[in-house]
């Protein structure tokens, strides 16, 4: 897993995992402290993360993330991670770590 946003925010605590690509759904269902796995790389993902106090966005399958999104996330102290794994594989690993 690769950190796209530099060193900032890496110390923030993750308490759960949420997976969804519809941002309106995430806004109404994800919890504070979740690591959020999504194929969306649009700038609005950062706005949603800020709104919900989500410390970390994980982009699966090596999808390229827009510069504007990475820049905004860095400013907002949100970590964006990139992984070659699928969302399912990331969930599997996260489950092993969190439980």
């Amino acid at each position: 897993m690769r950190v796209l946003t530099g060193d900032k925010g890496l110390e923030r605590e993750i308490t759960g995992v949420y997976v969804c690509d519809l941002l309106s759904w995430v806004m109404s269902h994800a919890n504070k402290g979740d690591a959020w796995i999504t194929v969306q790389t649009h700038l609005n993902t950062v706005a949603v993360a800020v709104l919900l106090e989500i410390p970390c966005i994980i982009v699966p399958e090596g999808i390229k993330v827009e510069e504007a999104t990475i820049k905004k996330a860095s400013e907002e102290n949100i970590v964006v991670l990139s992984s070659e794994m699928s969302a399912y594989e990331i969930c599997w690993r996260a489950h092993e770590i969190l439980h």
Binding site: L23, S24, W25, M27, H42, N44, A47
Partner: protein, 238 residues
Amino acid sequence: MKYYIDLHIHSSLSPCAENDMTPNNIVKMAVIKGLDIIAVTDHNSVENAEAVLKCAEKAGILAVPGMELETREEVHVVCLFPDIEKAMKMQDVVYKAMPPLENREDIFGEQIIVDENDNIRKKLKRMLLIAADIGLEEAFHIIEKLNGAMIPAHIDRDSYSIISNLGMVPNEISINCLEVSRVCDLDKYLETNPQLKKFRVIKSSDAHNLGDILERETFIELDKKDIICLINRLKYNK
């Protein structure tokens, strides 16, 4: 003057639209319904736009060349252009950004290109019902360069909408106008979504059959019945 509009109509080129959505049928139905300005906006393509414009001119109503683009975020936006040449330029960009898949007529329906006399010219093979690899902001800037207008489509729906997929209208693009679907109770919708009250919100039909084309429901005030006037009003409210 008040002009009655329906700026989101699919023709027989859209696989999901009925095959009798031909230029003449669409224009005649729009005349019967008392519309002044229409836009035919097929999925990721403008190949029937010229035929519609020719029919509309004969019938004395204004048709705007348009497209319903599906962006990378799977957000549908209605794009309107000042002329056919600009619309074709957009189509070139979109075709290059679409995966080279072939349409499955048995699943999605036929994609029929017609002339202004409703004669079938050909069936389009490439699959139109798919997202182009163009981000929303990128699409906005391309349309700006072509002097067109971008209107996020059916924002009240749970799928393919800027609100459902992106949560909100991004601040990074200067959008003035949003579209709600035919079945939307606009007053009620804005009551529950007060943050959208700063936008001009128009209703369009997204018609896939002739009966669904709007009645005289949505109007716009313009100095004259002219595409540039319309685009400027939608983009800048002036």
